[in-house]
Each structure stands twice: as C-alpha cells, then as structure tokens.
C-alpha cells in the first residue's frame, strides 16, 4: 500500500519544472476515463485543464496558494456554483448549484483543482454505494465488491489514483467505512470543525465534511484549509484552527512519560461479528504500538451496543424533516401529470426518491409522529447523552481510542441490499463518533487473505484532530513502511 508521495513533494517538482501540472491533470483525466467501469464519478470538470494552466503559471510566478495544483474530487452532495449537484438522486437530476460549498471554496482559494463530483449513496444514505441513481460504484481491489458508502466514489477516486485527494461527508461512518473498504486514509473531523454550508443536509446534527487521501500529510493539509468558522453555518466552531500540517510529529523525546500517549482499547468494539482476520491485524498493531512505548489502556464504552438504534432513530428523524423540501415546487423533479398541489408533492417525491431514502423518511416521520415522539425520538436523544458521556469519561483517561473501522472487509455487491438492518449494522463501530460529535480517522493497516484492505479507526476527543494526525503519521512512517 505504500510508499505514496505527499503532494507537497510533487509540488516542489512542479515548481522546479521537473513535473508539468497540465500534463498531470491530463493524466488524471485519462485515468478517470480508463477506470470508467468503477463508476466513481458522476461528473467530470473539463475546465480542470484550463485551471491547471492558470495555476501552473501562478506557481512559477510564486503567487500560488497552499494547495496549488492539488487535484481534488468532491462528493456530489457538495455544491459547486454552476455545476450539477444531484446527491445521486433522480429528484435533483437537473439541479445546478447557485453557490459554492464553503469547504470547496476554501480549497479553490488555495488553488486546488476540482476535477469532478463523485458518486455516492442517494443523499448519503447507505453503507455500500449501491443506492445511487448513477448505479453502484465498484471496489477497485475486487470489482465484484462494494467500495463502502456513502462516500464510495470519493474513496475509490483516491484508491484508484484518479485524484490526489477527495472530500466526502460522514454522518455515521460514510468517510471512514469506505476508506477502510478501499484501503485509503479518511478523516471525519469534529462536528462543527468544518462548515456545512453548501453540503446538502441529511442529518444536520451529525453531518461532517472531511478528506480522503493516500498520505497523512495530504489529509492534514486539506483539513487545515477546509476548517474554521463560517458565518453561513452557525454551528461551525469559532475555536482557532491548529496548523494541522505541522502537527505530524511527536516531540523528540517521546519516551518521557509526560509526552507518552495513552491509547484506549474498548472491549465492546471487539465482540461478536468482528471478522477474525481483522481482529488479528488490529492486535498486531496494538502490540507494535506497545513495543513503541505507547501506553495501551483498557477502557469501557458500555453503551456502544445502543449506538445503531439511537443513530437510526435520530438521523431518520432529521432526514425526514430535511428532505421535506424536495416537493417539486422550487427545484428538482416535478411529476408532469400532477393535477393538484398535494398530488404534485406526492407524485414527485414518490417517483424520484429511491427506496432507501423513502424507507428512512418513513421511519423518521414515524418516530416524530404524535404519540411516538417520546417513546422513540426523545428516548434516543437521552441515550445519545449516555454515549457522549462514555466518551467524555474515556478521554479523561486516554488520548485516543483504537478500534476496528468496520466488522468486515468489503462485502459483495447485492449481499446486503435486501436486508436494511444488516446493512445498518455494518456501521457498528463508526456511528458513535457522530453521536458524540468527535473526530475519527481510518488508517489502512493491511489486507485480509482475499487481498481486501483492512482498516483501523482512531477516535479522539472533540477538537483534538491533531492527536489523530500524530498517531496516524507515526503508524504511517514506522509501521506501514515496514510492512512492504
């Protein structure tokens, strides 16, 4: 899986003239065409070459931004002005954005090149990228398997070398799980670290935008650029943004106990359902970390078994409310034959939403409906507090928590699509971070006997992404490089 070159080193070669940015972007476009069968992209931005010319000139004149020439793909739930935003749904098939997502705008301001919009599960609802009006995305390691979801296209775009980095969104694992299935790094920031302005809402108190990349350096430099307060998102944090790209090393004398990092291991994340090979891979890295003077501390997250139940009640409730706006009135698909207003709403929604989206709207409407609100919605909000408090307690004792990212490696296409509950349970290790609003990262740590990527997850307390980055960098530079 390694070595990969951080983009900053490639940029040095562009500066010196050894590498041409225009040729590089042309190569990516050719490669996207060659790998079309993976179905990673909904739309390609042909103006990327033009941008490459402009930015290459800026690089040579010394006036280019921090991410000059970095080629980035963005999930098709993030709006880019005058380009389509479909959320992989027929209901938005002809929609063109009238403004640009803050996170994407910040990338463009630092002279990154946006190469296209990636495929995903419809409205980011799914764990396999099979729920897309553009068809399923294929896993580049085995084309009969899913790439994970919902940000499957963004994970594949990085895994198959179709861009330098990509943006996805994570509501219950939609960055980390596809990153694990595709063997790339994927980071979900703290809730509120990155503005959600321009992100099509699914579950507003859970949604986070974050990067995929092949190196931790690239993850850090993209995260640094997209983070920060935005007046267009009142939930975006006003806390200062650390220089993440400079947070990748430990102090020299890490052996001093005050600088020793404590890594928590929660047995609740290693129970029934976890594939043995994944467990072996994780145990191997735990031992290696122990040998490298990290303190391994057993901890408990006793409410983990309730996360999926709480998650599906709360996110479907938020989704049913957020998706009420798609009614065929102001934008999106309108059923042509509708004769009355109510019929227009019903027919437009019924014809254009896919079945998983309808299932979640139905569940969400039910749990919010009169007579059930307290039994389901309010109950789940109370359990959400327990889950958050589990993490508060754990982070009093440890710096980061290490878990598997997913109980299995990439599963077969169609394997789980007829059983919604089984599909939901594939997010068993990831939804907790969204319930608690904490950051998490997937690190690819090896392959199973079928050659499929295995991922581990690191979690940290709110607004402590730098701890994730530092441990990830240590693993990347010392563990992964020694594997091959």
């Amino acid at each position: 899986m390694l070595p990969y070159t951080p983009y900053s080193e490639i940029l040095e070669k562009i500066k010196s003239g050894e590498v041409s940015l225009v040729a590089r972007v042309e190569n990516f476009l050719e490669r996207i065409e060659k790998k079309k069968h993976l179905n990673a992209f909904n739309f390609i931005f042909e103006d990327a070459i033009e941008k490459a010319r402009e930015i290459e000139a800026k690089i040579h004149s010394g006036s280019a931004g921090k991410l000059a020439g970095m080629v980035i793909a963005v999930k098709d739930v993030l709006s880019v002005k005058d380009k389509p935003t479909t959320c992989s749904s027929n209901i938005l098939k002809n929609f063109k954005a009238i403004y640009t997502t803050t996170a994407v705008k910040k990338l463009i301001e630092e002279d990154a090149i946006i190469i296209g919009k990636t495929n995903c599960d419809e409205f980011a609802m799914g764990s396999s990228n099979e729920n897309s009006a553009f068809g399923p995305v294929l896993n580049p390691h085995d084309n009969t398997r899913v790439p994970g979801g919902s940000s499957g296209g963004s994970a594949v775009a990085v895994a198959a070398g179709l861009c330098d980095a990509s943006l996805g969104t994570d509501t219950g694992g939609s960055i980390r799980q596809p990153a694990a299935f595709c063997g790339v790094l994927g980071l979900k920031p703290t809730y509120g670290r990155v503005s959600r302005y321009g992100l099509t809402a699914f579950a507003s108190s859970f949604d986070s935008i974050g990067p995929f990349a092949n190196t931790i350096e690239d993850i850090a430099s993209v995260l640094e650029v997209i983070s920060g307060h935005d007046e267009n998102d009142s939930t975006s944090s006003r806390l200062p943004v650390p220089k993440f790209s400079e947070e990748l090393t430990f102090p020299k004398d890490r052996s001093k106990s005050s600088e020793n990092m404590k890594i928590g291991i929660a047995e609740e994340y290693f129970g029934e359902g976890l594939k043995a090979e994944i467990k072996d891979n994780i145990n191997q890295i735990i031992n290696w970390l122990k040998n490298n003077e990290f303190q391994i501390v057993p901890i408990h997250l006793p409410h983990n078994e309730y996360t999926i139940a709480a998650y599906y009640v709360l996110t479907t409730a938020e989704a049913s409310s957020n998706l009420a706006r798609y009614d065929g009135t102001r934008y999106g698909f309108r059923a042509p034959e509708a004769s009355s207003l109510i019929d227009m709403y019903k027919s437009s929604r019924s014809q254009a939403f896919g079945s998983e989206v309808k299932r979640r709207i139905m569940l969400g409407t039910y749990v919010l409906s009169s007579g059930y609100y307290d039994a389901y919605y309010r109950k789940a909000q109370k359990v959400r507090r327990f889950i958050k408090e589990d993490f508060d307690k754990a982070f009093n004792e440890v710096d980061v928590i290490l878990t598997p990212t997913s109980p299995t490696t990439a599963f077969k296409i169609d394997e789980k699509s007829s059983d919604p509950l089984q599909m939901y349970l594939s997010d068993i290790y990831t939804t907790s971070a969204n319930l608690a609003g904490i950051p998490g990262i997937n690190i690819p740590i090896g392959k199973d006997s079928s050659g499929l990527p295995v991922g581990m997850q690191l979690l940290a307390n709110q607004f402590e992404e730098e701890k994730l980055l530092r441990v990830s960098a240590f693993i990347q530079n010392n563990y992964l490089r020694s594997l091959k």
Binding site: I98, Y306, I308, M362, V383, P420
Partner: protein, 98 residues
C-alpha cells in the same frame, strides 16, 4: 409496539409519499423489523436524563440584526420546474383537494 399497515398508510400520507399495495406490505414488514431492533433502547433507564440534541453543547451564535441581501430572484428561479418571470408556478391550489 408494532406498526400496522394502516399506520404505515397514515405515515406515508404525513411524509407526502405514495406506495403500491406491495410496497406498503414491504414497508410494514421492514419498519417493524427495524423498530423491533430499536426497542433495545428501552433496556436503559433514562429517567431524569437530559436529552442531547446537539453534540457540541453550550454555544450560541449571535450576529448583528442588520438587513442583508439574499439570493437574487433570477438565481432563485433558475432551477424551478415551472415558473414565470417572477414566481414559481404550481397546479391550481384553490378549489382542489386538500
């Protein structure tokens, strides 16, 4: 607690969705399956627990109360499935079904 098919029809009405007979049967079965799983939450005593509605608590965002521009009308109408030069057009509202 289980959901009847009649309730599913009512929920569909609230959600402004319509389904075929077969879909209604399917949804009734699947919603019951999911809700049976969700019952798990009742194993926990949550009496006197404050609901958590937002993961990052205790922050309020204020801004000055001043009038600012909004999306220009032309832009707002750009994606409309039916419009004239000023308004979104919809089927007749008055006198139809409610």
């Amino acid at each position: 607690m289980s959901v009847t098919r009649k309730e599913v029809e009512h929920i569909a009405e609230l959600a402004r969705l319509k389904f075929s007979e077969e879909e209604l049967d399917n949804f009734t079965e699947q919603l019951n399956q999911i809700l049976a799983y969700v019952q798990k939450l009742n194993e926990l005593d949550t009496e006197n627990v404050e609901p958590l509605s937002h993961p990052v608590e205790g922050v309020n965002a204020f801004r000055e109360d001043k009038v600012e521009g909004s999306v220009p009308r032309k832009e707002a109408l750009k994606n409309a499935p039916a419009k004239d030069d000023q308004f979104f057009k919809v089927p007749k509202v008055i006198g139809g079904e409610t």
